[in-house]
Symmetry: C2
Subunit: 149 residues, 2 copies
DNA sequence: ACTGTTGACTTCAAGCGTGAAGTCAATGGA
DNA sequence: TCCATTGACTTCACGCTTGAAGTCAACAGT
């Protein structure tokens, strides 16, 4: 088995730093100002953009890039805070839908500027347009190889 | 505050998928075959490459992209398994050094092929050389903006 | 020489994520 | 019609990470 050449090692080392360090950086402002993790924010954000602010749990887990188990735990917390209501899908009782309450909407609305500022500061602004396009392309290639959850 | 345009959103969406999904993918084979997380492997790997297989904890935390707190907990586990020995640095008692035992070396040696195969499969092989160089460049730009821990 | 400060590191305690196990509704086959 | 299967989802229990608090050695100032 062949070890990494210099170019490969640079790419891998860069990526692993990104993977291990960037989440914490993105979360810190959100956590401090809104008490939300990045995943929390993504969940709230996606369901806030859904028709009638209602989305199936399975779809939500997929959009927020998390497992159903993780989502269930998170949404349970949100439900206890009155931000989300879960109920069986009227169209098919096998599914569960999550509905974002007005209170939950206010939470994500209040957190959005912080989130946006953080994303710009730590991700978008340091990169050129070409870098951003490359990042989009690379992420797409790497996602294709990721087996469905 | 201006919301993301399409290009920015694609880059951001791609990155966040990468950040949330890739770690799990990289870890699964390691976890199954060696019982190691990615961070576990990085810690063992870096100290295995140090002179005399000995490295200061602070340096090790930096190289493995983790906090001192996280590293301390991980190395404590390793110490209990006989893979690592911690002792005060003879040159300066304020520091602690981690030494990789023969047993610990065997663990990282045995895990390396799995790790390498996984990195190739999920990161390097799906990308062109240009992509890998772009990834290196992008990661460097994004790391520069990350404040020191 | 004494002591406050600083930085490295460990420990604590709480919250979170994970895989496994369990529950339930709908489907499909006999 | 019955029931095994399938897939969505929840819960459980354990291990891990985190930020805060605590400990210690060395340094710097008086």
């Amino acid at each position: 088995m062949e070890w990494l050449n210099a170019e490969e090692k640079d790419a891998w080392t860069g990526l692993v730093s990104l993977l291990l360090l960037m989440p914490g950086r993105l979360e810190a402002p959100l956590q401090q100002e809104s008490g939300l993790s990045l995943f929390d924010y993504l969940v709230l954000s996606h369901v806030s953009e859904a028709p009638d602010r209602t989305m199936r749990m399975s779809e939500l887990a997929h959009l927020a890039n998390g497992s159903l188990s993780r989502l269930s735990n998170v949404v349970k917390r949100f439900e206890q805070r009155g931000w989300v209501v879960r109920s069986p899908d009227p169209d098919d009782g096998r599914y569960t839908v999550a509905f974002l309450t007005d209170e939950g909407y206010e939470v994500v609305e209040a957190a959005a500027p912080t989130h946006l500022r953080t994303v710009r500061q730590f991700v978008l602004d340091p990169l050129s347009a070409a870098d951003r396009q490359a990042l989009t392309r690379i992420a797409a290639k790497l996602s294709v190889t990721i087996p469905p959850p």
